[in-house]
């Protein structure tokens, strides 16, 4: 069996599961945010249910329109807060102590290898970086699971992705995942698992792996998952407050497809609007001028991402035509960046640094685009109207490309700065 099949079998109380089977699994963690949880809470209450199945396992994170952007968002966030208090949820985190959910949960050790997790947010697939099964669902699925502690799933078939080669300077895990989505398309892994393997992967940090698993959904995948190795264990050991179990794919595991990529000569990648599959090398994008650059989000707002951006921005200035917005994904990352002097580099370069929020990624607040404006972002979606006006545009790239582009005002690799 594959790692995904083993985790699902264990949580279904079964020895073996096969792709296509419908199973019911016990859940280790459930997640909702200030957009999706209010609907889930309403559905929960409509059934007459009194208590969530386990107040330690239901996590509510206000991160999308927070700090509250308007009265309506404040009302939505208040629904979470009131419910969390009423149900004595152990894992509700308030503005000032919270972060973007998919950066925050791994950082706090709330998700561990071998876990089975659902979240009412499509990027819940991020936790596969830790060797967990995690997938996005809607609010009603979350409501049902808050009552029962279980959910139904169809066992996904797995596409194994093998990466070879040593990455060039300024090429990151963001480029690996964009390259894959560009190859297989936005439904290339629909209903399936993406299992990331290969020598290139074994050298990636957990931060870098989280970026890749995060975007599995952009290829339509149910989950993305990584083998657990020493790098994973080092990351989770100092964070885990409970036991966890490590699963690994068998040598004779069955795969739906195996795709191999030699990435030794890969350039930084850019996804052109309006779909994450419109991927081209950065050298094919250098004529594109920009109005805004965003560095942050559940995809690329972690400390390593900020370090790369700061390395490029140190001693340089953001182009006079550009608004650069930097958003550390959690309070802990923000504090770490402050201690390392990264925040000072950003501000000196002319960037706006924001408190953690999903904000601009989904056109919510903190950097919404006007008609005809163009942004490059380290986020995960470049759909029509994603960051604002339906006639604005979003290009997706890595923190390195984002920082270099902020300096020159057009889409470039850091190589163009002589780096």
């Amino acid at each position: 069996m594959t790692i995904t099949e083993k985790i699902l079998a264990a949580h279904a109380g079964r020895e073996v599961v096969e792709p296509g089977e419908l199973i019911e699994v016990k859940l280790d963690l459930l997640l909702g945010n200030d957009i999706t949880a209010p609907l889930a809470i309403a559905e929960f209450q409509k059934t007459g249910a009194q208590k969530v199945f386990d107040p330690e396992k239901v996590v509510l994170i206000p991160d999308h329109f927070t700090p509250n952007k308007d009265i309506k968002s404040a009302e939505q966030a208040k629904i979470l807060r009131d419910f969390a208090r009423q149900q004595n949820l152990h894992h509700y985190y308030e503005v000032g102590r919270v972060g973007i959910e998919h950066a925050f949960l791994p950082e706090q050790g709330l998700v561990l290898p071998g876990d089975c997790v659902i979240g009412a947010d499509s990027h819940t697939c991020t936790y596969g970086a830790l060797g967990a099964f995690s997938t996005g669902v809607g609010s009603t699925d979350l409501a049902a699971a808050m009552i029962t502690g279980e959910t139904w799933l169809k066992v996904p078939a797995t596409i194994k992705v093998i990466y070879y080669g040593k990455l060039n300077r300024w090429v990151s895990s963001k480029d690996l995942i964009l390259h894959l989505i560009g190859d297989i398309g936005v439904d290339g892994a629909l209903y399936k698992t993406l299992e990331f393997t290969g020598e290139t992967i074994t050298n990636l940090s957990v931060d870098a792996r989280l970026t890749m698993a995060n975007m599995a959904i952009e290829a339509g995948a149910k989950n993305g998952i990584f083998p657990v190795d020493e790098i994973t264990i080092e990351y989770v050991q100092k964070r885990a407050k409970r036991d966890y179990k490590v699963y690994a794919s068998d040598k004779d595991a069955q795969y739906y497809d195996v795709r191999e990529y030699d990435v030794g000569t890969l350039e930084p990648q850019v996804a052109f609007p309006p779909l994450p599959e419109n991927v081209r090398p950065v050298s094919a994008a250098s004529e594109i001028s920009l109005d805004q650059v965003v560095i942050g989000s559940c995809t690329n707002g972690r400390i390593e991402d900020l370090r790369i951006a700061a390395e490029i921005l140190r001693g340089r200035q953001v182009s006079s035509n550009i608004r650069l917005i930097v958003i550390p994904a959690t309070q802990a990352i923000y504090l770490q960046a402050l201690r390392e002097g990264l925040i000072e580099i950003f501000i000196t370069a002319g960037a706006a640094v924001s408190t953690p929020t999903c904000g601009p990624c989904l056109g919510g607040h903190m950097g919404v685009l006007a008609k005809g404006e163009r942004a490059l972002a380290t986020t995960n979606r470049n759909f029509v109207g994603r960051m604002g006006h339906p006639e604005s545009e979003v290009y997706l790239a890595s923190p390195a490309v984002a920082a270099a582009s902020a300096v020159l005002g057009r889409i470039v690799s850091p190589v163009e700065l002589g780096l």
């Binding site: 968002s73 009603t140 009552i147 029509v384 339906p390």
Partner: protein
């Protein structure tokens, strides 16, 4: 329980219609279905909700509902009065959400190639058949697994949970 027979005018869309197109995130500071309905498909066609009549049907290409997990998307479609979405394929979270909230959806390869905006179609949900009354052609939709038929018949996931789960008589298969 969903009505078994539906009839309405078709509104056709392309491939990869994502949840930001179905209901843009800038309107997600509410979860009121009626308010969400007023923004349904706004960034594809700002006049969409003014043009449609209750009972109309959306026909779309592959990967309908890709993107975010927002249940606001099928809710907006349902509350706008759309009776059914027929697509070549659905993104998986949208698929679950639609079934969970009781928005009828059908997958059909052939129907998508031939049915165009303005045609009137009749749908027999129980039989999984799509009749294009404009052209006289009939199409068969992909059948759902029995478990999903149970969810649909119960009127969505929460009704199913109430009927089965909260009385400890679960049968997932």
């Amino acid at each position: 329980m969903a009505e078994k027979s539906l009839q309405g005018k078709v509104w056709q869309f392309g491939d990869d219609i994502n949840t930001d197109l179905i209901v843009p995130a800038r309107y997600l500071n509410t979860s009121d279905p009626q308010e969400l309905a007023t923004h349904c498909m706004e960034d594809v066609d700002p006049e969409f909700t003014k043009k449609i009549a209750r009972g109309d049907i959306i026909v779309a290409g592959k990967n309908f509902g890709c993107g975010s997990s927002r249940e606001h998307a099928p809710l907006a479609i349902k509350s706008a009065g759309i009776a059914c979405v027929i697509a070549k394929s659905f993104a998986r979270i949208f698929f679950r959400n639609a079934i969970n909230i009781g928005l009828p959806i059908l997958e059909s390869q052939d129907a998508i190639e031939e049915i165009v905006t303005g045609n009137v179609v009749k749908i027999d949900l129980a039989a999984g058949k799509i009749y294009d009354l404009t052209t006289g052609k009939t199409y068969r939709a992909t059948q759902f697994p029995p478990f999903m038929e149970q969810l649909i018949a119960a009127g969505g996931l929460m009704e199913w949970i109430k009927q089965k789960k909260m009385h400890n008589t679960v049968d997932c298969q």
